[in-house]
């Protein structure tokens, strides 16, 4: 045989072997999985219900943990039972007539992922843990964030004393002893005046320290979701990477922070099984990366946060994409420091209410994807009235008249700095500030300088009273008018100070206290809220600007997308056809 022939045979043999090996590998390799892919720019911070307070953390928990109540899937924002058998009301005896006791009836048979039962003592354990565990963690390690949702549980009986003592102990160890803290904790958790009481295996009573009607909404919030005591310890937050022992429609299969999370149907879930076996959530760096991923078809659903231009482009391309917009309870507004001149003069603030141009912001910056807002209570929520619309239609002459009364003129202009923060509220913020400036300067009596600071510094600055006028936004803690009035306008509790406005109106404080005790959707409460909003429009401590919307873009093959005011984005209803 010639060498040439040997070479040819060798090449043929190698080729056949290579092709065979390749074919073997390809044919026996696991096939690509059938999954539904959701893209987002949001990031989780924790997967511990006692600690979860940012959007994505809560969202993961909502899809994996059963809460006591939940929001109706029809999107009307009404509450329905989840772990409970019925939504407590005064009519059915779930809420006592004095508003001080909530009796919760649990369904039987609900379990965690590992089969451990969810019963009355689990519920007590979890609520107590939400009051306590986070605070122990707040000091060690010191780097830990302090914005944990424990403060929401303050109205529960004996919780207030404990939380207060604990905070005092942390802030000033000399004046509060550890013994005092332990004593108040014992009072809260086991004493005669305990907050959460186990009645029997399926009945729990929550005792309130004061009547507080929004409490029923908290039953749908993740910080009251029962947790598995073997996984969630009282003395520490759960590390992000470990199992959360799911009780909801999905369980977490893979979690690589910043890269992807994979949710798999939870076989032990007591409710209707999730539509898709597996949902993958992919994390993108920013809105443009998310938009590109949607355009290429790598993801099936893009939820939070596309910029307005991208959303508009997708919504006009109806052949390839479906775009859906829903209401949101996030509001944006201008804050006045009510203590510093000249903004301590009501007439100046009222003049701004006449001069501001909401429609130009809504149409120019947001391409009409958001709605103008005329009260602090968002439109669509119980008690909302369009107070600023009725009182101040845009009127430059009226603004000029008020400014003249306050001592300003075209030669003696009101000069001030309008502050904004460039990242937290998205890339649109500088444009908004510019439009506010333009609208105010149309009076000819105002001269605005724009300045910005990064969020962490910004937050410090306004709380120290260093800004006179600045842009701010509010992501609600619970969907109730209380959350849009109490923190903003209540002076005695330090609410208005925490917003850098220092608004003080004692009659408003009284009205706010009153509405929290009135039945949640009653006409009396609506009246009280209306009075509060009248005072708001008269005093203008804040200038409401717009109410954001939530937007989702998805492939036409996807169904089951629900956008409602609760902001609860459900993965378990999504389906690929």
């Amino acid at each position: 045989m010639s060498r040439r022939l040997v070479a040819v045979i060798a090449v043929i043999v190698i080729l056949i072997a290579a092709v065979g090996a390749g074919a073997y590998i390809v044919l026996t390799a696991p096939a690509a999985r059938n999954v539904l892919v959701v893209g987002t720019t949001e990031r989780e911070e924790t997967l511990d219900p006692a600690d979860a307070y940012n959007y994505m953390s809560v969202n993961f928990l909502q899809n994996t943990m059963a809460t006591l109540l939940t929001y109706n899937q029809s999107g009307d924002g009404s509450l329905i039972p989840m772990l409970l058998t019925v939504v407590p009301t005064t009519q059915n005896g779930g809420i006592s007539s004095d508003g001080l006791t909530y009796t919760l009836h649990l369904r039987s048979g609900a379990t965690f992922e590992d089969g451990a039962p969810i019963n009355a003592s689990t519920v007590k354990y979890s609520i107590d843990r939400s009051v306590k565990a986070l605070l122990d963690n707040a000091v060690t390690p010191p780097e830990t964030r302090l914005s944990v949702p424990s403060f929401l549980l303050d109205p529960i009986r004996s919780a207030h004393a404990y939380l207060e003592n604990f905070t005092n102990r942390v802030e000033d160890p000399a004046n509060t002893t550890q013994q005092q803290v332990d004593q108040t904790w014992a009072n809260y958790s086991t004493g005669q005046a305990q907050g959460v009481e186990v009645v029997d295996a399926t009945t729990v009573k929550i005792h309130m320290g004061r009547p507080w009607s929004p409490m029923v909404l908290l039953l749908a919030f993740t910080s009251l979701a029962p947790v598995n005591p073997t996984v969630f310890k009282t003395d520490a937050f759960k590390p992000l990477a470990s199992s959360i022992s799911a009780s909801g429609p999905y369980r977490i299969d893979t979690f690589v922070s910043g890269e992807r999370a994979e949710l798999v149907r939870n076989p032990r879930y007591f409710g209707a099984p999730a539509a898709m076996e597996r949902v993958v959530i992919r994390f993108y760096s920013d809105s443009s990366a998310l938009a590109i991923a949607m355009a290429t078809g790598e993801i099936d659903v893009a939820y939070r946060n596309l910029n307005p231009e991208a959303y508009r482009a997708f919504s006009t391309n109806t052949a390839n994409f479906k775009a859906q917009q829903g209401t949101s309870a996030v509001i944006r507004y201008l804050v006045f420091n009510n203590r510093t001149a000249p903004f301590n003069d009501k007439r100046v603030r009222q003049a701004f209410a006449y001069a501001v141009n909401r429609t130009s912001i809504v149409s120019t910056v947001f391409l009409d994807s958001v709605d103008p807002l005329y009260s602090l209570i968002p439109s669509g929520m119980f008690g909302h009235t369009d107070v600023f619309k009725t009182r101040y239609s845009r009127n430059i002459a009226a603004a000029q008249a008020l400014l003249t009364q306050a001592g300003f003129s075209t030669t003696n202009k009101l000069r001030f700095t309008l502050w904004y923060t460039p990242v937290r509220y998205g890339s649109t913020e500088a444009d908004v500030a510019t439009l506010v400036k333009q609208a105010l300067e149309q009076t000819g009596m105002v001269s605005v300088t724009l300045q910005s600071q990064e969020w962490l510094v910004y937050r410090q600055s306004f709380r120290l009273g260093q800004f006179s006028v600045f842009l701010l936004g509010w992501f609600p803690d619970y969907l109730d008018p209380d959350d849009y009035t109490y923190p903003f306008l209540h002076y005695a509790s330090g609410g208005s100070a925490s917003f850098g406005s220092w608004y003080q109106n004692d009659s408003v404080d009284t009205l706010i206290n009153l509405q929290a005790t009135q039945p949640i959707a009653s006409t009396q409460r609506a009246q009280t809220l209306s009075q509060i909003q009248d005072a708001l429009a008269n005093d203008v401590p804040y200038l409401p600007l717009w109410q954001t919307s939530q937007q989702v873009v998805y492939k036409p093959s996807i169904s089951g997308v629900i956008l409602d005011q609760s902001q609860f984005f459900r993965y378990f209803t999504l389906r690929v056809s």
Partner: protein, 340 residues
């Protein structure tokens, strides 16, 4: 021959001995700059909470200690691997970095491969066809690449190859359709092969292509200029002249004699380029949603996540020191003239 080996050994020992002080100087600089920078770390951590609480936390962080006590504590913590906890993720910084490092290594190595390959190609083409159209074009391409902003280039790559042609995904390290391979090295390309998941491997490589091209091509411009300059120099050297005179084939002269010698400065530059690569990785990782150290540093900076930033910078610095030692030793090995 034994003499050369002995001198190489001496060089390596000397080089390693020098590394100690070098690391110390580096860590000192990091310590100094992070403390000299404006902004109070406790204010950044607590935000609205100030007063007595901030005071007690400053005490816990040791910020009231004299600077030398803080410094010693800082060094102790680095050498015990305890970099504190990130404010944002709340994990230990060391664990955060360990999780993200493989992603950055995968990207950096692939980019280096692209950079060297494309750079050499352009450089050699230029040098061999000096002042002819091919040279002019290569030089132009190199200059354009070298001056291209990575951020912009990355987005253009996405728009062309991901959105327009749909050849690749626009970002991420793996398609959602593939499960992440069991972690061995954390490099998806290697882990998928270890697990025998061939299709996952192909998918991981496909996801590497766009970011590696983006980062690699920008650096290729730099290499092309370097290779060209060095090639031209060595082509004029006496030994090349001599080789030509002996009648050795031009191609052999070129590759065996000229190119080999031109590579010494290039390989030195490769070490330095790793530093540029790492900083380029911050932008590339952001554009391609590539969850590595670059993106971690980016988030740490924008959130004033002081422990995370300090930790990541220290790790970066240590990696750079390690690489430069490696490159120096490699150079000393290929070029016996390099000695102290």
């Amino acid at each position: 021959m034994p003499r050369t080996q002995a001198s190489l050994r001496a060089y390596v020992v000397q080089r390693l001995l020098l590394t100690g002080p070098m690391v110390l100087i580096l860590l000192t600089l990091v310590f100094y700059f992070l403390r000299a920078a404006p902004g109070d770390p406790v204010g950044a951590i607590l935000g609205e909470h100030s007063g007595p609480l901030a005071d007690s936390i400053r005490r816990q962080l040791g910020l009231y200690d004299p600077l030398y006590v803080q410094y010693v504590d800082y060094l102790r913590r680095i050498f015990t691997g305890d970099m504190g906890n990130s404010i944002i993720t709340q994990h230990s910084v060391a664990a955060d970095i360990a999780q993200r490092l493989p992603a950055t290594i995968e990207l950096t190595v692939a980019s280096m491969f692209v950079a060297v390959l494309a750079g050499m190609l352009l450089g050699v083409v230029s040098a061999t066809r000096r002042d002819r159209p091919a040279d002019v074009i290569s030089r132009l391409v190199a200059a354009v690449l070298y001056n291209t902003p990575i951020f912009w280039f990355g987005i253009i790559m996405q728009l062309v190859f991901a959105v327009q042609f749909r050849w690749f995904d626009s970002g991420g390290r793996l398609s959602a359709q593939f499960a992440i391979p069991p972690r061995v090295t954390g490099l998806y390309t290697i882990d998928s092969l270890v697990a025998g998941q061939f299709r996952t491997f192909i998918d991981a490589v496909a996801h590497l292509i766009l970011p590696a091209l983006t980062l690699g091509l920008v650096l290729a411009g730099f290499f092309a200029r370097l290779v060209r300059a060095n090639m031209l120099q060595s082509l004029q050297a006496d030994y090349v002249e001599a080789a030509r005179a002996r009648g050795i084939r031009p191609l052999d002269v070129f590759y065996r004699h000229a190119l080999k010698n031109a590579m010494v400065p290039v390989s030195t530059a490769m070490g330095l380029t790793f530093a540029i690569l790492m900083s380029g990785a911050i932008l590339t990782e952001s554009v391609f949603s590539w969850e590595g150290i670059g993106r971690y540093i980016f988030t740490a900076i924008s959130n004033r996540d002081y422990p995370a930033l300090q930790g990541a910078v220290v790790y970066y610095a240590l990696i750079m020191v390690f690489l430069s030692v490696l490159i120096d030793i490699f150079n000393a090995w290929i070029d016996p003239r390099i000695r102290y």
